[in-house]
């Protein structure tokens, strides 16, 4: 994505690059004078981009650097900040909660992927059909994406109530469990809720991708006598390779940072069975007032996120631009 557009820009710029002052950044290159055409920078363009650069620099890039700096300090959130070298790091790495949180993140990533990917592909393929009612279904599928995690967590909490929820409403005794009080059941609940919330998004991605597969491929397979299942495995699935990489990247990096739902639903409990690393980081910093240790945990999250994103891309054998969705 990066290269073709950059090339196009390159060509376009040569046309009106005349009456401007060259900026410091372009000076060394300009002096060489071997470029096919020079690209002086419009002062007005710099000014237009300045507000966005300023905001992004101060409230996104600075915090990113800041978290690394803060991980070498001790700070209780109110008083003075002291540089204490590796103290916060040794503290963070020696705690069992850190490793527990890390293990839970891995569990979350693997389970989320295994649960959501096959379902999203199936649903996306189904929705990609040309029948009109499928567009209506797509509209309804989208609804969970509109609701806040707080609203979703609260809804499922009462839905799972053993006495006044689904279990008694549908008269299904096996649903009558202490869902949030058992360390295994609570994970089933979390995974299902998170799937409920995010499968629609991945379904939409796959729907779009399946619709772009040339119809002629399916028609040819039809003539060759391939059934629906065979078509799915021999055409649809291979054609979805790049979408699978995109979707998996977003899913994996997303699973690394689930916070809202778990915070509202379990607060990390019962015990510490759902205290995954992002939640552990929050609790360490904002409840335990150990901002230095929390920052060290945050750095681990950032590194893990970048590593996973690159890893998934590498696994898929492509260097296409990394996670393109929101980090929110």
């Amino acid at each position: 994505m990066t290269s073709p557009s950059a090339v196009r820009q390159d060509v376009r710029v040569g046309a009106d690059a005349s009456q401007t002052r060259a900026r410091r950044q372009s000076a060394p290159r300009a002096r060489r004078g071997t470029e096919p055409h020079r690209e002086p920078v419009h002062v007005s363009h710099v000014l237009f981009a300045l507000p966005a650069l300023l905001f992004f620099g101060v409230f996104a890039l600075l915090p990113l650097v800041g978290v690394l700096v803060l991980s070498f300090t001790s700070w209780n959130g109110i008083g003075a900040i002291h540089f204490t070298g590796l103290t916060s790091w040794t503290e963070a790495l020696s705690r069992s909660t850190t490793w527990h949180g890390l293990a839970l993140v891995v569990l979350m990533i693997v389970a989320t992927w295994l649960l959501q990917t096959p379902l999203s592909i199936l649903l996306g393929t189904f929705l990609a059909g040309q029948q009109r009612y499928r567009n209506v279904l797509a509209i309804l599928y989208f609804l969970p994406l509109l609701l806040s995690s707080a609203a979703i967590a609260i809804t499922f909490k009462s839905l799972l109530d053993p006495n006044f929820g689904l279990a008694s409403g549908l008269n299904l005794p096996f649903l009558k469990q202490n869902w949030l009080g058992d360390s295994v059941l609570v994970w089933i609940v979390l995974l299902v809720i998170i799937a409920w919330q995010f499968i629609p998004f991945h379904t939409l991605i796959y729907q779009g991708a399946v619709r772009q597969i040339p119809r002629s491929m399916f028609e040819a397979a039809e003539i060759d006598g391939a059934g629906r299942v065979r078509q799915f495995f021999s055409i649809t699935l291979p054609q979805l390779k790049y979408t699978l990489i995109t979707s998996s990247t977003l899913m994996v990096v997303g699973a690394l940072t689930y916070f809202d739902i778990i915070f509202v639903l379990t607060q990390g409990g019962p015990g510490s069975s759902t205290r995954i690393l992002p939640l552990d980081m929050y609790l360490t910093g904002f409840r335990g007032n150990e901002m230095g240790v929390a920052s060290a945990l945050a750095v681990i999250l950032v590194v893990l996120g970048l590593g996973l994103a690159l890893g998934v891309q590498r696994l898929g054998g492509t260097d296409a631009s990394a996670s393109q969705m929101e980090g929110a």
Partner: protein
């Protein structure tokens, strides 16, 4: 063509799974507490208990709604304007300077927001903005910029070059080209960005949690959370709060579905 039974069965099953919780919230929100304890949980029951809505409104939900609207507008309007202006420079400016600028913003897509909460908290305290609605807008704008710039600059590239050249001949400044030509031409992308970021801001939980403290600065998701703590025993009232806090965003979806889906899948779709 043979029918796709597996996919079909699955599709309808998923529809039930999607709608069941939403249906449950809707019917429970209009049950009185007595009917809630007495009736079948998955069946609607008359008479409608509108006192739940009154209870929610009496618990200051009107104020939380206003807070959410203020934060959403205060985030989205500057975000769209700044994102648009930066995109204009990235697309129209030279590659030498703005190529790296573009890469810098794209890098922002890979930053996990959760990991930056400690420094953002520190920053907001030092700016003496802790516990204010403005504190929620600033990081919202910053982290919204990368995706916004990606969407808007993709749309700007489709504006025919000849139109810009025509304005050159007329002696127009870059400022005029930006607002008279580029702005109207990219309006759909701007709406997409606006609607999508409004949703993000509306549902945001983490920043309100760490950057505000007093009840009168709460936005809806945070209010919902503390509300369910206070009203743990009165589920219908909590469900009414869930409904009321979700209605504005569902209206937004009804009005701008195309734009919202576009925003969500931008970059992810190919």
């Amino acid at each position: 063509m043979r029918r796709n039974w597996i996919g079909g069965a699955f599709g309808w099953l998923w529809l039930v799974a999607v709608l069941l919780p939403i249906y449950f919230v809707a019917i429970t929100s209009v049950k009185s507490i007595a009917t809630y304890f007495g009736s079948n949980p998955v069946l609607p029951s008359a008479p409608l208990a509108l006192e739940n809505v009154t209870a929610v409104l009496e618990a200051d939900f009107g104020m939380y709604l206003v807070n959410s609207v203020v934060v959403a507008l205060g985030t989205v309007i500057p975000l769209v304007l700044m994102g648009f202006m930066a995109s204009f420079s990235i697309v129209r400016g030279g590659r030498r300077f703005f190529g790296p600028v573009r890469s810098l913003f794209l890098l922002g897509l890979a930053i996990p927001v959760q990991a930056t909460i400690v420094p953002i908290y520190l920053l907001i305290i030092r700016l003496h903005m802790y516990d204010s609605l403005a504190a929620l807008m600033l990081p919202g704008i910053a982290f919204g910029l990368p995706l916004s710039i990606l969407i808007i600059s993709n749309s700007l590239r489709d504006v025919p070059r000849e139109l810009f050249e025509a304005m050159d001949i007329d002696g127009c400044s870059e400022w005029q080209k930006m607002w008279r030509l580029a702005f109207p031409m990219t309006r759909p992308a701007l709406v997409t960005v606006g609607v999508y970021q409004a949703l993000m801001s509306w549902n945001g939980f983490l920043f309100p949690l760490i950057l505000t403290q007093s009840p009168d600065k709460r936005t809806l998701p945070l209010a919902l959370w503390s509300f369910q703590g206070e009203y743990a025993t009165n589920v219908p009232v909590v469900m009414a709060a869930v409904v009321l806090s979700s209605i504005p965003i569902i209206v937004l979806y009804a009005l701008g579905r195309r734009y919202l889906v576009g925003g969500m899948t931008a970059g992810a779709g190919k």
